[in-house]
């Protein structure tokens, strides 16, 4: 079947794209000012033998192409070396934080899509009404406000004025021992940062859903459906929504990389121990191995998301040419 060939082709393209991303990621850090030895040695005096030893350990004496091949091999085996800052293996540190970021992103994205599309559909259906007007205004606001500002505001209101939520962190210290209490403790900490990211995305989804649906509702096939005697509810949810769903799916994939961006600011404001906070501290410490690993992961997420969209599109849009 040609759908298989189409999927295979998309996977091949994605691999090529990933290779370019990897190359760029390698080149950027070789061009960055200062060399790793200076970074590590800053503030302390290293004996020349120590320097020699480090150069050898990190393979910096080798020609660039050998370094490049070693770099490719190490990324594929998820071995990103050691953090300059903590001297811990980067892969372990990432592993510890990945779950927190996925949790934060997943929860906020899930609710943003659910609420955004449902209210977006309703706003499109009731276009021009008071409901439409208020939800569009609120969405524009929440989408336009910077996440860090929203985060600080929520900390002030939720954590200080009402004092119901923790000011920062991922878990209480020490964490509760009972597993059920542990889950509650996490959710309690998760609430404000995920609300921040939710508000950031909610407006986007509502506005997007509303406009694509309005566009679809003006198409000729909607008039045909109404003429056939299709009830209004089915005109909206079957005939218009199926067509409006196509941009929705694309945007899920395009939003996830953007969400990582929002996560950096949100996690920093809330000291949420995830990849975003990790990125921010790595930038502060010029922690090259960590940054290189994170950039690779961000690129990977972007490419994989796009690949998934392409494949899903192949199933839901009959017009896609295989």
């Amino acid at each position: 079947m040609s759908l298989k060939r189409y999927i295979l082709k998309r996977i091949l393209y994605s691999l090529v794209l990933l290779f370019f991303a990897l190359t760029l990621n390698f080149v950027i850090f070789r061009m960055a000012p200062g060399n790793p030895i200076q970074v590590v040695a800053s503030g302390m005096r290293l004996e020349p033998e120590m320097v020699e030893r480090l150069i050898e350990l990190w393979g910096l004496q080798e020609p660039l192409h050998i370094q490049f091949i070693r770099y490719l091999k190490s990324t594929l085996t998820w071995d990103f070396g050691y953090s300059y800052n903590s001297l811990e293996p980067v892969s372990r540190e990432i592993g510890e934080r990945l779950g927190n970021t996925l949790l934060l992103m997943g929860v906020s994205l899930f609710f943003a899509i659910i609420f955004g599309t449902v209210f977006g559909i309703y706003a499109a259906y009731k276009r021009g009404s008071l409901f439409d007007l208020t939800s569009v205004t609120i969405s524009l606001f929440s989408y336009a406000l910077p996440t860090f500002w929203m985060g600080l505001l929520l900390i002030y209101v939720g954590g200080y004025v009402f004092g119901q939520f923790p000011l920062a962190g991922t878990m209480s210290r020490p964490p509760p021992i009972d597993p059920i209490l542990k889950v509650f403790d996490k959710a309690w900490h998760l609430f404000l940062p995920s609300l921040t990211l939710f508000l950031f995305q909610y407006g986007f989804w509502l506005l997007m859903m509303r406009s694509t649906l309005l566009e679809a509702l003006h198409e000729d096939y909607i008039t045909t459906a109404r003429a056939k005697g299709v009830p209004e509810r089915d005109v909206l949810f079957k005939h218009a929504f199926r067509n409006a769903m196509l941009p929705l799916v694309t945007n899920v994939a395009l939003q996830i990389p953007g969400l990582l961006n929002g996560a950096i600011l949100t996690e920093t404001v809330f000291s949420w121990r995830g990849l975003g906070l990790y990125t921010w501290s790595a930038i502060q410490f010029t922690d090259y191995p960590v940054l290189q690993a994170l950039f690779y992961i961000f690129a990977l997420v972007t490419i994989v998301c796009n690949l998934i969209v392409d494949i899903v599109y192949g199933y839901i849009d009959p017009r896609i040419q295989f």
């Binding site: 000729d220 096939y221 045909t224 459906a225 199926r242 067509n243 839901i316």
Partner: protein, 326 residues
């Protein structure tokens, strides 16, 4: 017997610039088993008139006055649900310009036809519905197995055929065809016209054909209505209108099409000077007077009288109808 009788219908659109009187006092009727053409330039209100038969006017449009009687039911006073379930597609269906976007791009053609059947015959099983849909496709000369495909896999002519098949799905009493051949090349146009003619004879359909192309209507219709600026200016049996047009606008419209028989007109095209009026603020008196070669003072001031000619089969609204000028 008249299946559809429209009397003094007015359909107005509310726009930011004011009220657009798209249909402004139209009388129109369709005799059972006949096909009636509705001709006019873009923006004369012919599509609005067609949509009002199915109560499918855009949100800013509404029937301001007049009545629409279909098989003895007053269309405008039927409630939304009854009208949707019993009249739409079941008794009146519509052939849209199918070569464009009238079919939903994300559903299979046979499913779209079967959906129409499902809405009006709830007892039929899914498999029977699909079989019926395929029979309909066969009826319009499409390979029934093509029903499993999507509209974008059809050619323009096939999409129009599929649209026709869909319109026939519930054995309607009246079919409204809005520009059924527009945007198709001439050979396909001919095929579609032949198909419509054949189906009309086979199924004893009553047909309303809306087109700006008067030659298409000449091929398909028994009666012809000429619409100008929201009003019917002339109607009659098709031969009557073509052989003996009484309104200057009708004459102009007919003359814009070339003929191979008439020696006089063989080499020259006539055209109607000017453009149709803005329906926000139509001209006083006869609406055609700014473009009419025979206009006099009375045309600028008074709406034209409605004149029935000879038989009951010809009607014209003009102060100075052709043939008995000044």
């Amino acid at each position: 017997m008249n299946i559809l009788v429209v009397s003094d219908l007015r359909v107005y659109y509310q726009t930011t610039k004011g009220v657009v009187k798209a249909v402004d006092g139209v009388d129109f009727k369709v005799e059972e088993g006949t096909s009636v053409g509705l001709a006019g330039e873009s923006g004369c209100g012919k599509t609005t008139l067609g949509l009002s038969f199915l109560k499918l006017l855009p949100e800013n449009g509404a029937i301001a006055s007049g009545s629409l009687m279909f098989e003895g039911d007053d269309i405008d006073s039927l409630d939304e649900k009854t009208f949707r379930e019993e009249v739409r597609w079941n008794r009146i269906s519509m052939i849209f310009q199918g070569s464009m976007n009238a079919l939903n791009p994300v559903f299979k053609v046979e499913d779209q036809i079967a959906e129409a059947i499902k809405l009006h015959d709830k007892k039929m099983k899914k498999r029977e519905r699909i079989a019926t849909a395929r029979d309909l496709l066969r009826k319009v000369d499409i390979d029934p197995t093509m029903g499993r495909h999507y509209p974008h896999e059809f050619s323009g002519g096939m999409r129009q055929r599929a649209m026709i098949a869909m319109a026939l799905a519930c054995d309607p009493h009246l079919v409204i065809a809005d520009e059924p051949t527009t945007a198709l090349d001439v050979i396909v146009q001919k095929q579609i016209m032949d198909l419509l003619r054949r189906l009309k004879a086979e199924m004893n359909l009553s047909l309303v054909v809306i087109s700006h192309d008067i030659s298409v209507l000449a091929e398909l219709c028994d009666y012809l209505n000429i619409m100008y600026a929201g009003r019917i200016v002339e109607w009659g049996a098709i031969e009557e209108i073509f052989e003996n047009p009484r309104h200057h606008y009708t004459h102009g419209l007919i003359s814009t099409f070339p003929t191979v028989e008439d020696e006089e007109r063989k080499s020259t095209f006539e055209f109607i000077p000017g453009a149709p009026p803005n329906l926000l603020d139509p001209p006083l008196g006869c609406r055609f007077h700014p473009r009419c070669p025979a206009a006099t003072e009375i045309c600028r001031q008074e709406p034209p009288p409605e004149i029935r000619r000879q038989s009951e089969k010809h009607y014209v609204a003009c102060h100075h109808q052709r043939g008995d000028l000044h």
